[in-house]
């Protein structure tokens, strides 16, 4: 008799796998019912993806979506404990697979990444874990946790072109949620601000240190115009509820 762990492993593999063999089904017991469990589970997962990634699923079409979905369950099945987290599990896998598939439009992977970021940020906890104090250039800034930076090769955040595709363009987006909003939104970052936010995300740099690092990397002069521009952007971030102050 199989152990509990073996049975659970076999049932999970069957539910996540492709069309099961008769032997697989027989190992678990009632073949018809275990096939039904598999069908119900996969339908539910696919249904959630179609709600969360509606545009991406439409763009892929049923056949390609079916292929990617099957590959996902086979090669990198969902590990997220909350059900809503399966969307990001899928998107991480699907973006890579779709990008490598030359039969699919090149912008599809970007659309998946963009929609997935909107979905995730839409319900992220926006409470800062550190204490927040007034903004200082000599302390690490504190941003809302409900945000994500994404770099895309197509402008999938804009309306599609007349043929339904998206303009090819390197674009960096900040996807975030305002404190009182129910859904995420995004705005375009210029390359300097993208680099600055990426540097701040990567380590506990003060605002001054991050500016100096980015200016050096990008060979920029930190002059009056730069400082004025930076202050305008920081004021904008603050107004959006993105920049909360400095970490206390």
């Amino acid at each position: 008799m199989s152990s509990l762990a073996e049975l659970e492993r076999a049932a999970t593999a069957l539910c996540m796998g492709g069309e099961p063999t008769a032997a697989q089904l027989a190992e678990l017991g009632d073949a018809k019912i275990w096939a039904l469990y598999r069908e119900m589970i996969q339908q539910r997962l696919r249904g959630e993806l179609k709600v969360a990634l509606r545009r991406s699923c439409d763009a892929l079409g049923d056949a390609a979506l079916g292929r990617v979905f099957e590959a996902w369950l086979r090669d990198a099945p969902p590990r997220s404990r909350p059900f809503h987290g399966i969307v990001e599990d899928f998107a991480r896998f699907a973006a890579g697979v779709v990008r490598a598939d030359t039969a699919l439009p090149a912008w599809t992977a970007d659309l998946i990444a963009y929609e997935s970021a909107l979905w995730a940020v839409g319900d992220m906890d926006d409470r800062a874990s550190d204490g927040v104090v007034d903004l200082s250039f000599d302390a690490p800034p504190c941003f809302t946790p409900a945000r994500r930076l994404i770099a895309l090769a197509h402008a999938v955040h804009e309306l599609p072109l007349p043929d339904g595709s998206y303009k090819k363009a390197d674009v960096a987006l900040c996807v975030y949620r305002r404190p009182d909003d129910k859904a995420a939104r995004s705005f375009v970052l210029n390359p300097t601000m993208h680099a600055l936010l990426a540097a701040l995300d990567a380590g506990e740099l003060t605002l001054t240190q991050a500016v100096q690092r980015v200016a050096k990397e990008r060979k920029l002069r930190v002059d009056q115009a730069f400082i004025d521009g930076l202050c305008t952007v920081l004021a904008d971030f603050s107004e959006r509820g993105l920049l909360l102050g400095s970490k206390g």
């Binding site: 152990s3 009632d30 275990w34 590990r79 404990r81 059900f83 399966i86 992220m124 906890d125």
Partner: protein, 284 residues
């Protein structure tokens, strides 16, 4: 915070505005699925905070699966404990099932083999949960459409009773699941309820179900509660007394008036159980 008693419904985003915006006669508490709220913000936290101003909560997990061969990750258990204590819940319930293996989550409630090994495992998981969550634990009997594995060492009910005994825990008695299983596996649901130790029942679930063309019944939580399930609830409350009853509705959300009517019908059954208890106490 008032106690969890009487009739509750699940706090579902799709029904939240109506649930919190109306005065629903008989509605006394709400049930929360922690997986939908732990480490989540925005509209979900907002709804939870609004609900907490009006109702006490009980929590009901979806993914721990007390029959899992592998224990849940410690980080999740810590986050869950903090969440539950933040809500001030009197107990936490989960299903007697498994929901994946080796970190893979199927997001469904799969039946355990009815074996002694599975009893020992479930009892251990329940004890771990009680220790880690620092709360009383109630385990729910699930709907099952097939058994797992070629050989079973006991019936589903013996399995449940042995887990309750060995884990010394409470039961979240899902009356709809008893009904669904009784039809799918052909047994008398009242005889099943007769064997449930009344003192272990902490809470009851009722829900709607779907009858497929091949007559297999699926526990969908997506339809109105059938008359037979209301009747079975009445029977169950006659035996166990007035324990909190939850109306489960997770999909196929109707006009809210239909939910209000179901709550009223459940409350009438619950009130009868309260009166019976009062009479009994007076007589004693």
């Amino acid at each position: 915070m008032t106690a969890v008693e009487g009739i509750g419904i699940g706090l579902r985003y799709a029904m939240a505005e109506a649930t919190l915006g109306r005065d629903v006669p008989g509605l006394k508490w709400l049930e929360v699925h922690p997986e939908n709220y732990v480490a989540r913000g925005g509209r979900f936290r907002h709804i939870l905070e609004r609900a907490a101003e009006k109702f006490p909560f009980a929590t009901h997990g979806l993914t721990l699966g007390f029959g899992a061969a592998e224990p849940a990750e410690a980080s999740y258990m810590r986050a869950l404990r903090d969440f539950l204590h933040g809500l001030g819940v009197p107990w936490h319930s989960e299903h007697l099932c498994f929901s994946g293996s080796a970190g893979v989550m199927v997001h469904d409630l799969l039946p355990l083999p009815f074996t002694h090994e599975a009893v020992r495992t479930a009892a251990a998981r329940i004890a771990e949960a009680r220790d880690q969550l620092e709360l009383p634990i109630a385990v729910e009997n699930i709907s099952y459409y097939a058994t797992l594995g070629a050989q079973q060492e006991m019936s589903e009910q013996d399995f449940l009773l042995e887990v309750l005994e060995r884990a010394d825990c409470k039961l979240l008695l899902d009356v709809n699941n008893v009904f669904v299983n009784s039809r799918n596996h052909r047994f008398d649901p009242r005889a099943y309820l007769d064997r449930i130790p009344a003192q272990r029942v902490a809470q009851i679930h009722v829900a709607g179900h779907h009858v497929r063309p091949d007559q297999l019944i699926i526990d969908t939580h997506g339809e109105a509660v059938r008359d037979e399930v209301f009747e079975l609830l009445d029977y169950a409350l006659q035996r166990v007394g007035p324990v909190p009853v939850l109306l489960e509705r997770d999909q196929g959300f109707p006009e809210f008036d239909e939910i209000v009517a179901e709550v009223a019908r459940l409350d009438a059954i619950y009130q009868r159980a309260c009166h019976r208890k009062e009479r009994k106490e007076r007589a004693a």
